[in-house]
Amino acid sequence: MTGALLAIVSAIFFPGIILRVKSIASGRKGPGILQPWNNIFLLFRKSSVFSTTTSYIFRLAPAVYLATICCALMLLPFPGMPSIMGFEGDFILFAYLLALGKLLFILGALDTGSSFEGMGANREALYSMLTEPAFFILFGTLALLSGHLSMHEIFSHFQFAGEFSLITGAIAIYLLVQIAMIENSRMPVDDPKTHLELTMVHEVMILDYSGVDLALIQTGTNLKFVLYGGLLANLILPVNGGWLSANVMLFFLVQAAFAAAIGLMESFRARKKLAKNPQFIVTLSSIALIGFILVLLLTRNLIR
């Protein structure tokens, strides 16, 4: 549970850092680090407006979305400490839990009967479908290299794979960052700050949510970021630590650096044309495939 608890703690400052980095990069002073959470708590205190077109699916979706992310957090290991919930193949459950949340979220958007939200839901479904192979090939590669199937064992054995871990690690970090960006509907595929509903993915899907439900969704989105940040930390951090060691500080550092990197990427990178997005996402799978073949070549002497 260490990983989950630390990730939840880092979720407190994570969205604030992204906002702050973005505002500094664009020459503004920017809000305080805790402002995003203030907004969320404000939403929790508000009432809701529901569309008359919606049904119970619309009300169920935010709860499922948040609950799946919380359950996925429970699977997050911490370097050097086996997670209580980890098991052989836990990353499959991890990916499928997130997919369940996404399905309900998509249905929640479709429940409003709005053409904009239908558009967003459709794009979200397409992008997440295209992203999934990259995630699985990445874990296939790591499993092949480490010879294990639980996230804790994969990450801890991965670092002793010799010089291979360096090059695979680079590919893995790149992929994880990009997957996190796509899964959270951030910059290269989606711009949460655009003014036009037509061009958005995530933001357009929550157009009709208000009050408590919106707060649940935003909590979920922030937790989803630290979830992927936690995976990155596991990949990078050394295994020798334990509770109360330097690893805890390093964990926070990785999360902060990840947030800062997202802020910088969002400030200096343009959003892709929507029609080009599938191409970009499929490229990730091909990079993952190259990584896999590379590992095969190196470890198994494919060419004899």
Binding site: F44, S47, S48, V49, F50, S51, T52, T53, T54, S55, Y56, I57, R59, P62, L66, A67, C71, F87, E88, G89, I92, L93, Y96, A99, L103, I106, L107, L110, D111, T112, G113, S114, S115, G118, M119, A121, N122, R123, A125, L126, S128, M129, E132, P133, I137, G140, A143, L144, L149, L207, D208, V212, D213, L216, P278, S285, L289, F292, I293, L296
Partner: protein, 674 residues
């Protein structure tokens, strides 16, 4: 027991035809329950490995005959041997459950036809339904080739009769005949395979297969069997009957056909695989490739469909693909002598057989309720069904989440078994095996993602939003009689999802027995895996409930407002502006362009057309294999037409043909060719 049961069941089925209409349904229900109970008891005992059926039953003769798994029926022409081994027992239980839920559902569903169809048609329908049940049970228990083939044929004919229920529709008639023809192509493959067995061993039976495989080429015979069973199972490219036949049949029949009848093909493949002795690696590889292809192509075509039942039918092909990936993995495991892969692959495949029979029949039943209420299944015309039929919508959603393989429901359990197997296999053999398995892995994830895409379309467009066309008649929720069997199925789906080990333990036992595997240490770790999964699933459900409660608690004291959906500033948005199934699938179809073609009929607006007139737009998905098949049949028709010239109708010509034939025989004899 068997001397009494078999004549009773057969005679009972014929009595359906004469029972008065008022009692017909209850009579059929009783008969099917009777057949199910009598076969389920020994099957269940066999499946859980009860000591009662160990062969040496001590005790009175009644219990011995009740629990007997070897039935020998002595008739006038000879004897029939019915054997319930572990493999059959599993399939028998699956079959009985789905057939019972189907007959329960049919009562409400067929009420709509009460004024349209005459009693004889209903009697024939119930009669065929019972015979589909009986023939499936016979297929699962008969080992002898000839009687197996007869049972197989009975299954095809009875399901043909069931599809024909709405025979007044021309398309249904055509579909049914197409189905019957394709079933017979499969039948020919099976016949050839059994004849080869007989030629090799002198015995035409599944029991002779080990002897045949020990001395002959394994691949050839397996592939012939595989082709025969694949037509039934719906592996691509043998699937073309499936997306036509399922939508044409009444919904409870579609549920039974898709849920269990096509699984007879899987049963056959496993039954043959048990006996295969060499070349296992290559066979596994072939199954894996065909299955991955079927799975991917099936789900891609499903996305393109506009008819909800056709969409579900293509999903059957997808799920058969998933089952096949499991079988292929298991066979590769046999080839590598890696019992772990065998166990994971086969248990995943067999569990998926059970799972698919549950969620697919659930989906077909709830779709049938929608059809009964709205008289259409065109996705683009429906919408907002959830407001009229909230319970049916919830049931469909449960089926959809399960078929997408998402936790906490049963589809996830079988897929995770196959996933773990594939991941374990990555480092089990040569580098080429790793690449093959990785590609299977990629197909499986893509299938999962595409299924989510497809069911977000199916559920989102049909059940959510507002109605896309005006409904002129009153619509109400399906009656309890139709919902009840669906609750049963949904309950079982949840139970398997939350407590998988109850079902997995006997399955693992089954596979170890059938494939002669030693008890593995993996059992412990596997139960550890599934304990964790069920723990997290339960936590997930608790967490959702808590969040819903918190939400309810927070909103209780506040004034909640209701209004129209936010139209981004536009005040009068109409229901026709909503996303339709076609527009939802559009961006995917664009990416999938190279493999998925669709025919678009649309007249574009020209620049000089200032006031565009009325236009229509239609898009038809296009199954490549269907058109290949059409080309083949067209070619055959052409050749046959040319040959028809021989048939002049003139008796003298026919005498000439006979004369030429005799001359030919003489010539061949003279030249010592024959």
């Amino acid at each position: 027991m068997e001397q009494f049961f078999i004549p009773a069941a057969v005679l009972g089925s014929f009595l359906i035809l004469v029972v008065p209409g008022k009692y017909r349904y209850y009579y059929t229900l009783t008969l099917i329950l009777f057949i199910s109970i009598v076969t389920s008891v020994p099957a269940a005992l066999q499946f859980i490995g009860s000591p009662y059926i160990a062969g040496n039953v001590s005790g009175n003769s009644l219990s011995a005959s009740l629990f007997s798994t070897n039935w020998i029926f002595k008739g006038y022409l000879g004897e029939l041997r019915f054997t319930i081994d572990k493999l059959s027992s599993f399939f028998i239980l699956v079959t009985n459950f789905t057939v019972i839920t189907g007959i329960l559902y049919s009562r409400g569903y067929l009420k709509a036809y009460a004024g349209v169809k005459n009693p004889a048609q209903f009697a024939l329908h119930n009669f065929s339904y019972t015979w589909l049940h009986l023939s499936m049970l016979a297929v699962l228990t008969l080992r002898d080739g000839l009687s197996f083939l007869i049972a197989w044929e009975l299954m095809a004919v009875s399901s043909f009769m069931l599809i024909l229920f709405e025979a007044e529709k021309r398309s249904t008639l055509k579909t049914a005949v197409n189905y019957l023809v394709q079933m017979h192509i499969g039948f020919v493959f099976l016949l050839i395979a059994f004849l080869l067995t007989e030629a090799g061993t002198g015995q035409m039976s599944f029991d002779a297969l080990p002897a045949y495989f020990a001395n002959h080429n394994n691949i050839v015979l397996f592939l012939i069997f595989f082709a025969g069973f694949a037509v039934k199972a719906g592996f691509i490219p043998f699937h073309t009957w499936l997306p036509e036949a399922h939508p044409a049949a009444p919904s409870h029949v579609s549920g039974v056909m898709s849920g269990v009848m096509i699984k007879m093909g899987i049963y056959g493949i496993v039954r043959v695989l048990i006996s295969v002795q060499s070349d296992l690696f290559l066979i596994g590889w072939i199954i894996l490739v065909v299955s991955a292809f079927s799975g991917l192509f099936g789900v891609m075509l499903a996305i393109a469909q506009h008819d909800l039942k056709k969409l579900l039918a293509y999903h059957s092909i997808e799920n058969i693909g998933i089952i096949g990936i499991g079988l292929g993995l298991g066979t590769i495991g046999l080839g590598l002598q890696n019992p772990l892969l065998t166990l994971l692959g086969f248990s995943g495949a067999l569990l998926h057989v059970l799972n698919h029979s549950l969620f697919k029949s659930l989906l077909f039943f709830s779709t049938g309720s929608v059809y009964k209420a709205f008289h259409t299944l065109n996705i683009d015309q429906l919408g907002g069904v959830i407001h009229k039929m909230p319970k049916t919508a919830a049931l469909f959603l449960i089926g959809a989440v399960a078929i997408c393989g998402l936790p906490p429901l049963n589809g996830f359990i079988s897929e995770v078994l196959i996933y773990i197997g594939l991941f374990k296999g990555l480092s089990a053999g040569s580098a080429y095996l790793s690449i093959t398995l990785l590609l299977a892995l990629v197909s499986l994830t893509l299938i999962g993602g595409l299924a989510i895409f497809c069911f977000s379309k199916a559920f989102g467009i049909v059940f959510l939003g507002s109605p896309r066309t005006e409904i002129k008649h009153p619509v109400s929720e399906a009656e309890f009689g139709m919902l009840f069997p669906q609750y049963l199925i949904a309950g079982l789906i949840v139970v398997i999802g939350l407590l998988p080990m109850i079902f997995l333990n006997p399955l693992i036992n089954l596979i170890s027995t059938e494939f002669h595997l030693e008890p593995l240490p993996i059992m412990g770790s596997l139960s550890g895996v599934f304990t964790k999964i069920s723990l997290i699933s339960i936590i997930l459900i608790i967490m959702i409930s808590v969040l819903m409660f918190v939400r309810h608690f927070l909103l209780k004291s506040r004034t909640v407002e209701y209004g129209p959906t936010w139209g981004c500033g536009s005040m009068n948005t109409s229901a026709r502006q909503q996303y339709t199934g076609t527009s939802y699938a559009d961006n995917f179809l664009e990416i999938a362009q190279p493999v998925l073609r669709s025919k678009v009929e649309y007249r574009p607006i020209h620049d000089d057309e200032i006031f565009p007139s009325h236009r229509s737009f239609s898009i038809h998905p296009f199954d490549i294999f269907r058109s290949i098949l059409n080309k083949l049949t067209d070619f055959t028709m052409l050749v046959l037409k040319k040959l028809a010239r021989l048939q002049t109708g003139n008796i003298r010509h026919y005498i000439l043909y006979a004369f030429i034939f005799i001359l030919l025989i003489f010539a061949l004899l003279y030249l010592k060719i024959i």
